[in-house]
Structure formats: structure tokens, C-alpha cells
């Protein structure tokens, strides 16, 4: 726990992102950017976690994030993405989409380009709620239900899907280079194929019946058919895009809105979620090889629970053990969720092997049937009452920002 650094920053943080590092260099990220919301003057700020000699040796501030530079941002920062290591794209509550450049040598930020009313209503602003980019393409979504495609090097709009959604689109991510995924406020996960000219989604997946809004979506970095979403009720859903229109598994994670979900980019057996309830969870599925001693204990009772309580396409359910560790005046609660469920349709399972046919590639996220898989979750933050709005993980570094105006950085995440 000592490896977590907390810093109060006098602004409510809505987004936090690590600056990407080159894979070849094997280095840990050391710069991240934050965006604020609900302030009179909102800002985007670049921070350094102090790998530099300047602050490392003296006064015990080691690892304490240091402000590098900041820039005013019109409206709440609703999304923040790195276009490349020097440029970021922001989504604003005014509906604007803006590209900023971070000048590393003199620690300054300049505005590169702005699309002021990327999302709009005829006589009002429509907040832009999500951005995803794969340089030079930028895809944005908004409360106005539009999907807009920009190119960083072009003035105009590349493509618009009007009325893509009748309700608010909350988040967007790439599935493949030409396909994107959006989640909306009536619990639907839609897949769009840009190769088609039509303005209707290629696929709609949804939770049956309850229409619980989905707030975030992320795709498995290696196996593109595996997608995780989080919704208003705090449930973590894992979907298999290749089959069915319902989620593959549903896990109780948080007691309020899940704001972000992220697979670990290089070690996707790990997943991180954060929520309005003030918690940040680290999920870990262990691979088939290391069979846990915990399994025998919990699985039998759990399977009954699974099959009786949850509809048949939902295989996993967490059982929760709570260990209290009392430290000073903080409570650290470790939740251990051990999850597994016996397969109830063997045929669908066999279809799960990827094209390569290599069995070991079967993702542990979809191995509902194998009693060999287990899922463990750990609370990453000391007790918190205010919402954790955002998180980002890269390498061994995890950063998150809260409505309590604090940012937490953990540089030794066990992945």
C-alpha cells in the first residue's frame, strides 16, 4: 500500500491518461495528463511522476506527481485520449473536440485544432461524451446520438452518422480498424462497420430486458472479440462479439455507476474498473496452469448459485469474502471474488477456440466452463467516499482521479 501516492489537486478529475511509451524501450510511463470537470475554469494538466533526479533524492517527495504545465479547457473534459505521444484529443461538454499539443522541451501546451460544435443540438450545446483515436482518425460520440469521424490532418468532418442512437452514447472504442463499438444509455452495445455506408449498426447486443445504462467499454487487447462493459448498476459484463446478443458473463463489481473499465494493455488477464461508489477494483483471472487451492472450496456451492439465480447465458457470479485489514485510520478492504461456473452448453464452448486452434489461447475471460479458471479482485484504494471517475493503466503504473479532488498513482501494480 505504501506504493500508492495521493495528491490533492484542487480540481475534480474527470479523466486521466498515461502518455504512451514505446514498446521497444520497455520503459515505464512517467507522464500523465488529467482533465477536470465541474469547475468554473476547467483545465487539462500534464504531470510527471518524478522519475527525474530533480525531486527524487530530497525531501521524501519521491513519486509525488509534479505539475508540468496546464491549459484552460472550455467546458468539462468528458474524454481525453492521446493521439500520439505529443498530442491529445479532448471531448468537451460544450460539444467541442480539441487537439492540444504538449511541447516537452519547454513544458507548454498549445491548441492545435478545434472543432467547436462537433456535437450539437439545433439551438443548444450537446456534450461530446466519448473520443477514440487511431492516428490520424478520430471518432467521437455525443449526447446528440451522432457518431462523427474526423481526421487530425483535415479541417472538415470525414463522416457523420446522424441518429446513430436514439439515446445518449456514453462511450466508444475500436473493435478492429474499421469497426467501432458504442454503448448507450439504454443498455445496448452496438457495433458499427465503417466499410458499410449504411447508418445503422452492424450488430446490436443488449442485456435482456432491464435497459441498465452502460457507461464504459473496452476491448481485449489481443482477442478482439472479447469486450468488457460497465453499467449504471456497477455490473461488469464480458461479451463475446462472435456469438449471441447477450453478455457472456455478468459480475457484480460495484454498488454504483462504473465509470471506466480497462484491460491491462500488455497483460490482459488483468482488468481494472472504477466507480461512483469510490472504489477501484483490480480483477485478475489466473491462467489454467496455476490451479488455485480456493477452487475446491468455493466452486461447488457456487455453481448452484449460478445456475439457479442467473439466466442461462450468464455463467459467472462472484462470491465475496471480505477480509478486513485495519491500518491506522484507513480501512483497507480486500474483496476476494472467486468466480467460476460450470458450463451449461458444451457446444458453444467448442466454438470458442480461436481460428488458430491453439487451446492455450482461449481467453480466461471466456472460460466460464473450466473450473480451472478463477477470478480474484482486489480493492486498490483506501476507503473513499467520493466517486473515482477515471483510471488508466500502463505497464506497472496505475493512475486514477476522483471527485475528492485527488489523484492516486501506484507505480507497482502487480501484473
Amino acid at each position: 500500500m505504501e506504493s500508492i501516492n495521493a495528491k490533492y489537486v484542487s480540481q475534480k478529475i474527470s479523466k486521466i491518461r498515461w502518455r504512451p511509451v514505446s514498446h521497444a524501450a520497455l520503459q515505464q510511463p512517467d507522464i500523465f495528463v488529467t482533465g477536470s470537470w465541474d469547475n468554473e475554469d476547467n483545465k487539462i494538466s500534464f504531470w510527471s511522476t518524478g522519475n527525474h533526479e530533480t525531486s527524487a533524492n530530497d525531501d521524501g517527495f519521491e513519486g509525488d506527481p509534479q505539475l508540468l504545465c496546464e491549459q484552460r479547457h472550455k467546458g468539462d473534459v468528458l474524454e481525453l485520449q492521446f493521439l500520439d505521444p505529443d498530442r491529445i484529443v479532448t471531448a468537451s461538454s460544450t460539444g467541442a473536440v480539441t487537439i492540444f499539443r504538449h511541447h516537452q522541451n519547454n513544458q507548454a501546451i498549445s491548441l492545435c485544432h478545434e472543432w467547436p460544435r462537433a456535437h450539437y443540438y439545433p439551438c443548444d450545446n450537446a456534450p461530446c461524451t466519448g473520443v477514440v483515436c487511431s492516428s490520424p482518425e478520430i471518432v467521437t460520440v455525443g449526447e446528440d446520438g451522432r457518431i462523427v469521424v474526423f481526421r487530425a490532418d483535415q479541417e472538415g468532418v470525414n463522416r457523420v452518422i446522424e441518429n446513430a442512437d436514439s439515446s445518449t452514447i456514453h462511450a466508444v472504442t475500436y473493435l478492429r480498424t474499421t469497426e467501432i463499438l458504442t454503448v448507450n444509455s439504454i443498455g445496448q452495445l452496438k457495433m458499427w462497420d465503417f466499410r458499410q455506408q449504411s447508418s445503422s449498426p452492424a450488430q446490436i447486443l443488449s442485456l435482456s430486458g432491464d435497459r441498465v445504462p452502460l457507461h464504459c467499454v473496452d476491448r481485449h487487447p489481443n482477442q478482439q472479440h472479447i469486450v468488457a462493459t460497465g453499467g449504471q448498476d456497477g455490473m461488469l459484463c464480458v461479451w463475446d462479439m462472435r456469438q449471441g446478443s447477450a453478455p457472456f458473463s455478468l459480475m457484480e463489481a460495484h454498488s454504483a455507476e462504473m465509470w471506466e473499465v480497462h484491460f491491462h494493455p500488455s497483460n490482459p488477464d488483468h482488468l481494472f474498473t472504477c466507480s461512483e461508489d469510490g472504489s477501484l477494483l483490480h480483477w485478475e483471472t489466473s491462467s489454467h496452469s496455476d490451479i488455485s487451492y480456493l477452487q475446491g472450496k468455493f466452486l461447488s456451492s457456487q455453481c448452484h448459485l449460478n445456475l439457479s439465480m442467473i439466466s442461462k447465458n450468464i455463467l459467472n457470479k462472484c462470491s465475496v469474502l471480505i477480509f478486513h485489514v485495519f491500518l491506522n485510520f484507513y480501512f483497507f478492504i480486500f474483496l476476494k471474488c472467486v468466480s467460476g461456473g460450470r458450463n451449461n452448453s458444451t457446444t458453444s464452448r467448442s466454438a470458442m477456440a480461436p481460428a488458430g486452434g491453439n487451446q492455450s489461447l482461449i481467453s480466461t475471460w471466456l472460460s466460464g466452463e473450466s473450473s480451472k479458471a478463477r477470478l480474484e479482485t482486489t480493492h486498490m484504494l483506501p476507503s473513499q467516499t467520493l466517486s473515482v471517475n477515471t483510471l488508466d493503466v500502463l505497464g506497472q503504473c496505475l493512475a486514477c482521479g476522483t471527485d475528492g479532488e485527488a489523484i492516486f498513482v501506484n507505480r507497482q501494480v502487480p501484473v
Binding site: Y8, Y121, Q232, T385, D403
Partner: protein, 651 residues
């Protein structure tokens, strides 16, 4: 009616002379504007400005925001400090909470200090400097309250705590000592003796001895004298609360030492060195000597603690006020009026908690300190006897004031929610009133506010938020969004209104918009009749599209017979039945056809009964007539076919 204790603060509004001012109360601030007072028909150009007067400027300081955020965390933790803990352990908990609060103040103070030093603008430097001195005073008072009220140390240990208190707040000695020690020859530094005496005054005898050692080395001739002083200092007994020694035993031991020191003074052991003699005089607690070193003591409470240390080390907490009063009078003789800080500290020494809180409320410009301190004291069960003439109790009153201040801030309002939660009597009412004022700029923010209301079961507010969002969506012609919001609020009337809009849209355009929503209504469909109809009608279209004609026909008929469809829509439904009637195979059975005919007759008779409205053109009338004719024909033909078919099957 109680008298007002202090003169009201006057704020000058920049307005032209002789004008009248009007004002309006806001949730936390006042709006002031010039009014036109027309006594004699005089019309002048009034000032176009509206002034906003904030009573609590501090919440707008970026650095103090950290204080509010961090202390919020501590506050929430304090509210849950184990009810199940035995009261003994609780005390330790409360002391640790108090220390946490103080460390937050200290951190904040240091940051302010840094900024004040590094800034180039003199205005900001003064502003921050003022804030530092306020925080310094707050921390001083808090620390004393912690010692006297929360920790409530018994005789003996109370003095040790007071010594720590003075040492912490008179830290300039350490800076001076550092300076002296870093010089080339510390013993000859001009501040050398000041440091030694300051150490003695604070009871830091070990450090004083080490300093004296440096001097002793320089003066081998006076070696014996230094040795004597050293042994005197080393022998001075300090009470050890954890040890086995009783207070009486300690007092006997201390008296012996005191006599010894007195003896040294009497036989002029130190008369050849005025510095050592001075130290000895301090050790025996000579009042005049102490008063001669006011600049080293700097405050009357330092004087008090030093005096207690060398005269009454076993002072009981209840006796403190007596000494405090006399020390203050002695020390402040020249100054006529004690400053607010002095009277607050004096009230604390008198164990008059309410006076402390009252004076602090008046002297300080924000509620942060009193609210948090009162809350902590209340948890320690120190405030029970006191009742207010208004509101619930002192703790709640102050917390509500503080939280209301926070709520007016555009960003800190979220913190206030937790404070309201812990005000059992009026917190909820305050929250209900204030939460309506939070501007809902984005859906994200609306969801956060909504979550706050839902968690606290505030249906009224939930409905109002959803309604605001639904209205906004409707205004922007986002029917799907509007419907989602009204479903979330379970607002049947509004859902009906929007369903109506959807149906109108359909009638005009012939297609449905927002199919992704309507197709997935699920159980939400049952919210209002009209919404049910919308969902079912769309289902009919789907069935028809999938060429499941008989199911579609059955659904269509049931929409009318079960009176789900509004009468005004029946014609459309019957028209929709036309293609089904015209199919080659028989879809409507004879019975169903009868029912359809009955619906049609009911509709036409009711239409005829109402006088034809004037704005209906002849053309419309004709159209309608043709439609009815067509329907009748189709129905008759279908009936014939159905009878034939059913008859055939029977035989």
C-alpha cells in the same frame, strides 16, 4: 432576544451616492443592485451592475480547497468511528482524528507559505500571508482544545502536553539554533544565549545542556560552575505518566530539586556568570526574571507554561484557569485590550467550550474550523448539556452552516452532501432544498446528482431531475432520450406525452424513429397506457414485416378490443388491417371479422355523433368516407371468405 455580540461587518458596494440598493438572498450569497427610487419623477440611468456578495471567500482559494477535501475524508471517517469500541479505546481514536485534522491544517499552511514566499505579486503574498496566520491561530487553538478537552490529560501529564504545545508553536527557536550551530563558533554567536534561554524556557533541558557544553569548553576556568549547572539541569525530574511513580512521589522529588536550585541561587554559585545566574533564576521560577524576557517568551501562554513548569508542575487541569488569568494580566499589562486569540485561549483554559466556539465563530471568517471542532467535541460527548433556542443542536447548526457554504460552490457541493448526511435532524431538508439548485450541464452530472438523490430515497428530487433532463431532450427533439428519462423517473404522464409525439411522428412520416429504443422497451412499456400501445403497435409492424400475418392480425385486433389503442388512432389501425384483409388466404376468422366490423361501426357512429368540425375540409371528409367504404367492402369480403373456409373445414 439576545444581544448582538459584535458590530456587524460593513462591506462597501461601489454605487453612486444617493442611490438606493435592493438585495436578494441567495443560497450562500447576496445579490445587491441599484434600484430606481422615483420620489419626484426623477429618472436617472441606474448602474447596470449587479453585485454578488459572498460571505465565505475562503472556499474560492485553490489551496484551501485541499483543506476542505482532505478534512471531508477525515470527517466521514470520524462519523463511523466504531460505535462498538469501548470508550477507552475511543478516546485514542478521537485524539488520532484530531491529530489528522491538525496535520491537514499544517500541510495546507506549509503550501500557502511556500506560495506566499515564491510569488512575485505583493497582493497575493499578503493575502496568503494572512491566511497562513489564520491557519496558525486555528491550529494553535485546536491543539490546545485537543490537550484540554479531547485528550483530557490528568494532572502531571497535562503539563507535558502543554509543553509540547508551546514547543510546536514556538518553532523559531529551532531555526535560530540551526543558524547558531552552523556558524563557525557557535558559542560566540550573538544569538547563542537567546537559544539556550529559549530552550530552558521551553523545558528542553537536554538540548540546553548540549549547547552549554560548547560554552564550557571555551571557559575551562569556570568549569565547575558549568558542571554544577549541568548536573542541576540533568537532575530536574519530569513526570512520567507511563511509569510507576505516583504524582505525590514525583512532587516530593521535584520539591527537593527545586530546593537545591534555590540553594544554588542563594549561595551565589553562579554569581560570576550572569547568563548562568539567569538560567538558575528561571529554574526556580522567578516571575520577574521571566517577565524580563518577554521577547523570548513572546506570548502570555508561553509564559504560563514556563511558569507552571518551574513552579507548579503538578497543576490540575481545573486549576489552570487561575494561573492563566494571572499570567495573562501580568504579561499584557501594557496592552489594554486582549486580542480575540487571547480571550479564546483563556476561555479554553477556563474549560468554557462554548465560549471558545462562540469566540471562534465571531473571530474567524469561515465555518470550517468551528464546524469540525464542534463535531469532534460532540463525538467526545462534551457538548451534551447545551441546547440552542433554534435549530437542533450546536454541532448540527454549525455543520449545516459550513455545508451550506460549500454547497454554493460550483465544485465543492459534492462534499457538502456527506455533511448533510450526518446532520440527523435538518440535514435532509437542507439537502433537498439545495440539491435542486445544482445546475445540470451534462448527463454525466445529472447522473451523479441523481445517484445522490436515489441513494437517499428522495423521490421528489429524482422526479424533478429526470423531468428537467427529459424536457431538455424533448426541446432538442431527442424523443428517445426524453423517453428514457421519463421511464427512469417513472413519470407516466410525461411518458404518455412523448409516446403521443412518437405516434404523431409516425402518422406524418409513416415510419418509426428511434426503433432501437422502442423495440427494447421491455417491462418499461407498462409505465403508461400510451407507451404500451406504442410498444405493441410497433410489435405489430414487426410481425407484419416478418410476414407472421395471423399473429399480427390477432395483436391488431386486441389493441382495439382491449381498449389499449386510443380511439383517435383506431382509423389508422383499421387501415392497417386492410392489407391483411386483402391477402389471398384468410387471416381474420369470421369471429375476428365480426369484431373488426363492430369496432368500425363504433368508430363511425361516434364520429357521426360529434358535430363535424368546421376546419375539416370537404376533401378530408371525402377521403374518410372512401376509407370507411373500402374497409366495409374488405370486411364483408373477408367475412364471406372466412365463413366459407370455416364451413369447409367443419365438413
Amino acid at each position: 432576544m439576545e444581544e448582538v455580540d459584535v458590530e456587524p461587518v460593513i462591506t462597501n458596494i461601489p454605487a453612486s451616492a444617493g442611490k438606493h440598493l435592493g438585495f436578494t438572498w441567495g443560497p450562500g450569497d447576496i445579490l445587491v443592485y441599484e434600484t430606481l427610487y422615483k420620489a419626484s419623477g426623477f429618472v436617472g440611468s441606474g448602474s447596470p451592475f449587479i453585485h454578488e456578495i459572498r460571505k465565505d471567500e475562503d472556499i474560492y482559494s485553490p489551496i484551501l480547497r485541499k483543506l476542505f477535501n482532505e478534512s471531508h475524508h477525515i470527517f466521514v471517517g470520524l462519523q463511523t468511528v466504531g460505535e462498538e469500541l469501548p470508550s477507552k479505546n475511543k478516546k485514542a481514536q478521537f485524539v488520532s482524528v484530531s491529530k489528522n485534522y491538525r496535520s491537514v491544517i499544517r500541510a495546507c499552511m506549509e503550501e500557502l507559505q511556500q506560495v506566499a514566499v515564491s510569488t512575485k505579486s505583493p497582493d497575493i503574498a499578503t493575502q496568503y500571508g494572512n491566511q497562513v496566520s489564520i491557519l496558525l491561530a486555528i491550529e494553535l487553538i485546536w491543539n490546545l482544545c485537543e490537550v484540554l478537552f479531547i485528550d483530557a490529560a490528568p494532572a502531571g501529564s497535562v503539563l507535558l502536553h502543554l509543553l509540547d504545545w508551546v514547543r510546536l508553536h514556538k518553532a523559531d527557536v529551532d531555526e535560530k539554533a540551526k543558524e547558531v550551530l552552523q556558524s563557525e563558533s557557535p558559542a560566540e554567536h550573538r544569538d547563542y544565549w537567546d537559544v539556550v534561554v529559549s530552550y530552558i524556557l521551553q523545558g528542553r533541558l537536554e538540548e540546553a545542556r548540549q549547547m552549554l557544553m560548547k560554552q564550557a569548553v571555551l571557559h575551562p576556568a569556570a568549569r565547575n560552575m558549568y558542571k554544577l549547572m549541568d548536573s542541576l539541569l540533568s537532575k530536574m525530574p519530569f513526570y512520567n505518566p507511563g511509569g510507576t511513580q505516583t504524582l505525590t512521589e514525583f512532587h516530593v522529588k521535584w520539591s527537593l530539586w527545586h530546593e537545591e536550585a534555590d540553594h544554588c541561587l542563594q549561595d551565589n554559585s553562579f554569581s560570576s556568570n550572569k547568563h548562568l545566574e539567569l538560567i538558575c533564576k528561571i529554574l526556580v521560577g522567578d516571575e520577574d526574571t521571566l517577565l524580563e524576557h518577554k521577547e523570548l517568551l513572546s506570548t502570555w501562554y508561553h509564559f504560563l507554561v514556563t511558569r507552571l513548569l518551574y513552579c507548579h508542575p503538578t497543576v490540575k487541569p481545573t486549576e489552570l484557569h487561575h494561573y492563566a488569568q494571572s499570567c495573562m494580566t501580568l504579561f499584557l499589562e501594557s496592552r489594554s485590550v486582549p486580542e480575540p486569540l487571547d480571550s479564546i485561549l483563556l476561555a479554553a483554559f477556563e474549560f468554557d467550550i462554548h465560549q471558545v466556539l462562540k469566540d471562534c465563530s465571531i473571530a474567524l471568517n469561515n465555518w470550517w474550523f468551528v464546524a469540525h471542532l464542534t463535531d469532534l467535541l460532540d463525538h467526545c460527548k462534551l457538548l451534551q448539556s447545551h441546547n440552542l433556542h433554534f435549530g437542533s443542536n450546536l454541532r448540527e447548526f454549525l455543520l449545516l452552516e459550513y455545508a451550506s457554504g460549500l454547497f454554493t460552490h460550483h465544485s465543492l457541493w459534492q462534499l457538502a452532501v456527506d455533511y448533510f448526511d450526518h446532520c440527523p435532524e435538518f440535514g435532509r431538508v437542507y439537502l433537498e432544498l439545495q440539491i435542486d439548485h445544482v445546475p445540470l450541464d451534462t448527463e454525466r452530472k445529472a447522473l451523479k446528482v441523481l445517484r445522490i438523490c436515489e441513494q437517499r430515497q428522495m423521490p421528489e428530487q429524482v422526479r424533478s431531475i429526470c423531468k428537467i433532463m427529459a424536457m431538455r431532450a424533448l426541446r432538442n427533439n431527442r424523443l428517445g432520450s426524453a423517453l428514457s428519462w421519463s421511464i427512469r423517473a417513472k413519470d407516466a404522464a410525461f411518458a404518455t406525452l412523448i409516446s403521443e409525439k412518437f405516434l404523431q411522428d409516425y402518422c406524418i412520416r409513416g415510419t418509426f424513429s428511434d426503433l432501437d429504443l422502442i423495440d427494447n422497451l421491455g417491462p418499461a412499456m407498462l409505465l403508461s397506457d400510451r407507451l404500451t400501445f406504442l410498444g405493441k403497435y410497433r410489435e405489430f409492424h414487426k410481425l407484419y414485416g416478418e410476414k407472421r400475418f395471423s399473429e399480427a392480425a390477432k395483436l391488431l385486433l386486441s389493441l382495439m378490443t382491449a381498449k389499449i389503442a386510443p380511439r383517435s388512432f383506431w382509423m389508422t389501425l383499421l387501415t392497417d388491417a386492410l392489407p391483411l384483409l386483402e391477402q389471398k388466404e384468410v387471416i381474420f376468422s369470421a369471429d375476428q371479422t365480426h369484431e373488426l366490423m363492430f369496432c368500425l361501426e363504433e368508430l363511425t357512429s361516434s364520429l357521426n355523433a360529434t358535430p363535424a368540425s368546421e376546419d375539416r375540409t370537404m376533401q378530408d371528409e371525402d377521403m374518410e368516407q372512401t376509407k370507411v367504404e373500402l374497409l366495409r367492402l374488405a370486411l364483408a369480403r373477408n367475412l364471406a371468405m372466412a365463413i366459407v373456409k370455416e364451413g369447409t373445414v367443419e365438413t
